[in-house]
Each structure stands twice: as C-alpha cells, then as structure tokens.
Symmetry: C2
Subunit: 327 residues, 2 copies
C-alpha cells in the first residue's frame, strides 16, 4: 500500500510502505479521506514520537470502507462505510484500528466528509459533557470558535441548549461562528474577552471554557470563569507554563482541567472506546436531526499533505482540513 | 448574651452583645462548644470581613442544644442536641443558623466534641467525594494529615476503602495518622513526597490529593498525581500564586480544583445544606459504626479564645481545637 512518509522534518512523501492487516479485535479500513490535526504538524516536525506499538504513520482519523475484519470483532462487516479515531496511521491507503474506535458514517454525511468528524466529535463530547458537565442554560466560552473543534463545539453546545460565546481572529470567522449558533462573538484582537463575557452574563462569567491557548490565557480564563466554573485546556498554542492564582480559583470554587484524546487507553473507563460509544449514541443523532454538521474548510489530495499542514498552521482556514486518499 | 468580640486585631474579649433570635427557616442554638478554624484566625487579625448579612462574630461551627425554632422549620425541636455549620457567630452563647445547616449529634459522640465535626466533615465529604469522586482502591494523598481536616479525611477515606498517604511534620503526628488508618506516612521535612508517592504506587501517583499548602506545593502536587488525578486545593498556607505547567496537566489528563465551604449558598446545588444532608446521610453512619471519630487536640474555655488561636497557628496541635462555652 501507499502512505505518507516523513522523510525528514516536514518532508511528507506518498510512498510504497508495507501492507497492514487487522489484528484480533481490529478492523481494516480502506481509507477514503484523512483528517488533519495539529498533532500531525508536531509529528511531521519531529516534535512528537508515537507511543510504542502505535503506527509511525501520521493521521489520527479517517473515513473509508471496511476492507477486512479481524478475529473477535462483532458488529462490523466488509463493505460498511465508517469513520474512526486512530492512534496513528491515517495518512495511508489502509489502516487497522481497534473495533471500539470505529463509528458508522451518519446517513446525512458524505463518506469523505466523515473523516473530519472523529477527532472533533470525541474531543468536544469528552470535554464539554463527560468532563465539564455542560448543561442547558449554562454559558460556554469556546476559544478559536472557527477551528475544527470550535465549529463542532458551537453546534453541540447549542444542541445541549447551552449559551455559546466564542473568540476568533477575523470577521469572516466570527460570521461563521454566528451562523453555527454562537450568540456572543468576540474579536479577540480588538476586545477583552474577560470583560465581554462578564458583560454578557451580568458579571457572572462563563460556566465552562474550552481553551486551546494554554499559558497565554490561563489567568484571564480564570478571571472569566463563573463560580463553580470549569476551565478545560485542550491546547497550548500560547505556551505551557503560566502563573495560576489559587486564591482566585478557591474564591470561585473553580477547576482547571488538562485533557487529551491521544494518550487514552483503547478500552475501559475514560478510554477512546468509551468516548466513541457515547459520541455515536449522542452526537450522531444530533447530526441525523440536522443540528450538527461537519464543517470542512479545505480538502487536498493526500500527496499535498505538506500544503494542507501549512494551511492549518497559518490559521487561514475555518473548520476541518481533509486529505483525499481515494475518490 | 455574651460573645467574643474582636476589639482590635487579635484582641478577643468575652463581652455582652445584643441577643440573637431565629429568623424564618432558622434554628437558635444554645452553644455548648465552638470549633476553631484557620479562617477565624484570619478574621481575628482583621484580614477577612464576613459577607454582608453574616454575623460579625467569629466561629463557623458549634455544638449545643436547640433553644428556639423559627417559622417554617420542620424536623427540629427545642432541647435537641445538635451541631451546625455556620456562616459565622459561633463564639457566643447563642447562634441562629439556617435549619439546613444543622445536624444531629451522633449517638457515640459527646455533645461538646460534636463542635469539632461540622467543618471537617463537610470539608472532607464535599471535597473527597462530591468533588474528587474518590473511590475504593484509589490512593489519596492528604497533606497535613494530623490537622483537623486531615485526621477526619484519613478516617473517611479508609471507610471508603481508599488507600491513604499523608504528610506531616513530626513523628508524633505521623504516629497519630497511622493509628487513624494512614498506610503511607511521609515526614515532609525529611522526605520528598513526590518520590515517596510514586514509589508506593509503582510509579503511578496519587488519584486524589487534598492540599492545604497552595502555591508552595502546586508543581510538586501535579508531579505526584496519577493519570486522571484530581488535585483539590482547600488551603493556601504556602501562598496563592505559583507556576502551573499545563503540559504536565494535559499529559496526565489531570485537574486542579480550588474549593471552600464559606462562600457557598445556604441552599441549592453545591450549597451548604446539600453538603450537610450528604454528610448526615453518609458520614454520621460511619461515626455510629465506629469507623470515624472526632479527633480533639485541645479544649479551652471560650474566654481563652486568643490562646486557642495561638495554639492552632503554632502548628503544635493535632486534630481539632475547641472552645467550651457552657459546661
């Protein structure tokens, strides 16, 4: 089969590589498209090594068709259109994945576009619901509202009847966020999000914040939290280390949570399979009912993976970036 | 009636003050004893002002006998021995308190000693169980294991079938912790608690940490956490501001939570009444069965409140410090 090989830092080449086959409990997917994630950029730059046992090939999510089924797999059969959350290996013609990380393609979604769902859907559900317990009537502040995760988070939060505030860097992005359901749109270059969130909540603040900036926003995020608020940090685009004022945290009975999908175990409590199961049960119906849709910002042929990475790194794209592997 | 009046910073005098009476929904308690808390020391030093509407009188917990019952109170009657969590007013002959913050005195506990239960029981249950979801088989690290909160936390955690590690500053204190059920006792002056917790858990770390040191321990507490671990900060004896490494937090999918009892509302979700209800339902049976007992380190007559404060501030006491108001 063919796959993208990192020949040297950021040199991404579509080359012949050894075939993969499904192990016990795994499904083999013939890949239609792969989603691009920031973790792929780190890995392509040589700044992330996959854990022992995981594929060296980039790619944490795909859509495609089941090509083979390993031993002890029930509920999946050859020919089914699916998408999947991966530990790696998605930038390839075929990928093998534990059956618990496979999801059906929602009826209303094109097979290729489904490659943009697993990471955002699992990230958003595991964080907003399973970790932060966002509920109807609460306000969630989503930083980077026009990103892949952001565009999905807006829609899911609205489907949960929460109030959505977002930050983004351009009028175009803020317009997209509003169209997806965000009620409070904050141009972070021009406005202080802390003041704006307080103003919009009568001084109370945000019940939940979904953050991708890390250190750069830590103190202001704590300032923007309501009593009992939960700050969920899923990215560190603004650095890793910052001063935390525990007095503010105690005064608000607030929490700071760091989370990631990639290091989670395949099965068990808090595992990828547990998240995938909840996503299929809860988010897929939202998609079927039309309240949530994939937001695809750009598609590239897999051979142009490097260009896709550059676009994502530039910040000049809204929604997900996809790589087409087969037509 | 008489109460302790703060005449100037740390000048605590037993003086005649206006009588109190129960408002609608309140119970009037004739105080037998009052518990001493670190928040009282801050307030006596002029570093804490009670919120609007709360008593200016020190004292966040008492035991005593119900002397009168306000309108709309059911389930309590004059003459009943009780203890209560207060917003203030405990260093006095009488105190009025919302009925939802009143608890019966457990059968096996002396009336006076029950004054040492409300703060520790509500603090420990709200943090270890309602916030951190400590469960059987998990390891909890309790800093200041010989403190009032620490001695109670050890016993409750053991009753929940968790494994208990503690830090403390002397052999005497560590012996008390061991006697109460702590399996891992760490002399923090001589040993690195991070290394010790890792060694005791095969490198995994603590599932829950109950911390009173704040800034001074923040980074090392994060180091000592297990994957999915919860750091609960309830005190800031080591300062309020410290660098937080979000990369470590994300790598462990861990959380830092700040909490306090005092600012919580009287009723509703996460309120004092909600906590008191859970404590009465869950901790009082542990006391009745003998698994949990009040640990009283010292008792003073109420007129010697200043000496009681000095003893607590010195760190030279284990368990709770009580003030006797009536014999």
């Amino acid at each position: 089969m063919h796959a993208i090989v990192v020949e040297s830092a950021d040199q991404l080449t579509w080359l012949e590589v050894p075939d993969v086959s499904p192990q016990t409990g795994e499904v083999l997917i013939e890949v239609s498209a792969a989603g691009v994630n920031r973790a792929d950029l780190l890995q392509a730059a040589g700044k992330y090594s996959p854990p022992p046992g995981a594929s060296e090939i980039l790619g944490m999510e795909v859509s495609g068709t089941i090509a083979a089924v390993g031993d002890d797999v029930t509920g999946w059969s050859v020919g089914q259109p699916v998408c999947a959350l991966l530990a790696g290996g998605g930038y390839a013609e075929f990928v093998a994945v534990p059956a618990g990380q496979v999801m059906p393609v929602p009826d209303t979604v094109e097979l290729r576009h489904a490659a943009g769902l697993p990471e955002v859907a699992c990230t958003v559900w595991s964080n907003l619901v399973m970790t932060a317990h966002l509920s109807a009537g609460q306000l969630v502040l989503i930083h980077g509202g026009a990103s892949g995760v952001g565009t999905h988070a807006i829609q899911v939060a609205r489907a949960l009847r929460a109030t959505v505030a977002v930050t983004a860097g351009s009028v175009t992005k803020l317009d997209l966020c509003r169209e997806l359901g965000a009620e409070v749109t904050i141009a972070y270059r021009d406005e202080d999000f802390v003041e704006r969130v307080r103003a919009e909540t009568g001084g109370a603040g945000a019940d939940v914040i979904l953050d991708i900036m890390g250190a750069a926003y830590l103190d202001r995020n704590v300032d923007a939290l309501a009593t009992g608020g939960r700050l969920i940090v899923i990215g560190m685009q603004g650095g890793t280390k910052a001063e935390l004022n525990l007095g503010k945290l105690i005064g608000k009975r607030a929490s700071v949570v760091g989370t990631a999908l990639r290091g989670r175990p395949v099965t068990g409590r808090g595992s990828k399979s547990a998240i995938v199961e909840e996503v299929t049960a809860n988010v897929w119906p939202m998609i079927a009912e039309g309240g949530v849709r994939p937001v695809i910002g750009a598609e590239f042929p897999i051979a142009q993976a490097r260009a896709a990475h550059q676009l994502l790194a530039s910040g000049e794209v809204s929604g997900k970036v996809l790589l087409r592997v087969a037509d």
